[in-house]
Symmetry: C2
Subunit: 279 residues, 2 copies
């Protein structure tokens, strides 16, 4: 059975439509700002679905409160599906005195949850901070299904070497060629991008990344591909953590921008709900 948190309300209808059993939850705030939650059912095994986009901290606390309520009702196995995992980019100490924030959050969730499922975590190695079963789910199935027809016999590209495995996974689902952009700093403010070992002329191209925030890299890559004679240029990402104006900026530069619905945005057209049900 599933419980849907405030950060997964946008997935609820599709979960139901695909046959998920749902336990209703009441979630609201007291006048002083404290969250109030209540679960209106129980089961031996319950999966709480809660994406932790803004306001992140409220959604994290909600995850903990829902878990306490479910344990109180006797739930034995408690799983958390956190499609977008807040603090995942704070994954290392860059300056002395910083926390490894993603570790702190995972440890707090581990107080109640037996299993943790996240989608396309920024640094999958950080799953080790969750002391029991923790799984990083790939968005490749969802992204490939969405772009299969539009892309035809195109090419899948990663915006940088670090994103190559994700592009590869999508390309393999589609039976297509893949590569990545090499980034080279040519001045303190300028980076040259070059697609490696691949001929994009006349080909549709899909650029795939984990997170789009400002979208600067995507716009640059798209413009470059146009100059090189590519056909249609599509951009996909797992998490649409868009900064102000980013959707418009990237949208203008490409034929289509689409992200998954780990975070609800105007371009979250790629659904990961089937993957949640397959866990």
């Amino acid at each position: 059975m599933f419980v849907v948190g405030s950060g997964a309300k946008h997935l609820e209808d599709e979960l139901k439509a695909l046959g998920a059993g749902l336990i209703e939850a009441e979630i609201r705030k007291f006048p002083d700002g404290e969250k109030y939650v209540r679960v209106l059912g129980s089961a031996d095994e319950v999966t709480v679905v809660q994406s932790t986009f803004r306001p992140q901290d409220e959604r994290l606390v909600e995850l903990i409160l829902l878990a306490d309520a479910l344990r109180e009702r006797g739930v034995e196995t408690l799983k958390a599906v956190v499609p977008y995992f807040a603090y995942s980019r704070q994954d290392r100490v860059t300056k002395e005195g910083e926390p490894v924030s993603v570790r702190a959050i995972m440890r707090a969730l581990a107080v109640y949850y037996d299993e943790l499922y996240v989608f396309d975590l920024h640094n999958p190695e950080t799953l080790k901070f969750f002391p029991s079963k923790a799984v990083n789910v790939s968005p490749a199935r969802a992204i490939a299904d969405y772009f299969r027809e539009k892309l035809g016999d195109g090419i899948v590209l990663a915006p940088d070497k670090g994103a190559r495995e994700r592009a590869k996974a999508v390309a393999e689902k589609l039976g297509l060629e893949f590569s990545h952009f090499e980034k080279e700093r040519i001045s303190p403010t300028e980076v040259r991008m070059t697609p490696v070992d691949v001929d994009v002329r006349g080909k549709n191209v899909l650029i795939v990344d984990d997170i789009i925030s400002t979208g600067g890299t995507m716009v640059k890559a798209a413009n470059l591909l146009r100059e090189m004679g590519a056909g249609k240029v599509f951009v996909a990402a797992t998490h649409g953590v868009f900064a102000e104006g980013a959707i418009e900026r990237v949208g203008r530069a490409v034929d289509e921008l689409a992200v998954t619905n780990t975070i609800p945005t105007p371009v979250s057209r790629i659904s990961i709900v089937p993957d949640i049900l397959g866990l």
Copy 2:
């Protein structure tokens, strides 16, 4: 050494003035809303001071992130002083399916903290949910010191029987008489209040409670005391969780309203900082 969180910034100057050793902390938000913290020093033993008033959840996450940063820097003993403890009023399951929210928060803090100090917790029994040393600090010293001269040979009253121990503790510090109001429901919407076994005529009175939110009870009690011929009427509380307009409403009904600085408000004139340093 102390680290001051965003919810204790208003205590920082006094902590310094009273000689506390402070480790500076950088606390801000990323553009996407995630908190960033960094501690600019370390020690074997560190006390993080963080009151968790609104926005409660952000301050709770900050407590956890600061703790992770401090452990990363090698701190051995980590103490949390949480003057106002969010979710403390959600201390029991009233309707099936609710969490014991205060338990959930205490268990999350226990991942990192060895000791927990709170002020005048709504239900002190809930400290048992913190698995190691947890202490409920009384506000009696602070409240008594503040009102000693104003009150003279007055009387200390609790607004209801449940608040009697707090009134007693304040009265004992002052060497004064104390009592409480009996509440009796005389209709579905009306409650009669009567001060028990005490003659307030010509006496200054201090009413003491743990939390003031709407202030309705305090206004009612104050008006009643005036009718009964009391001298000056003062109202004190530990935590000023004031609803909109409550400060003005109570302020108009009494000679002085003052609360401690566990939460910063325009009437937080009673300082608990000496008590923090005495822990």
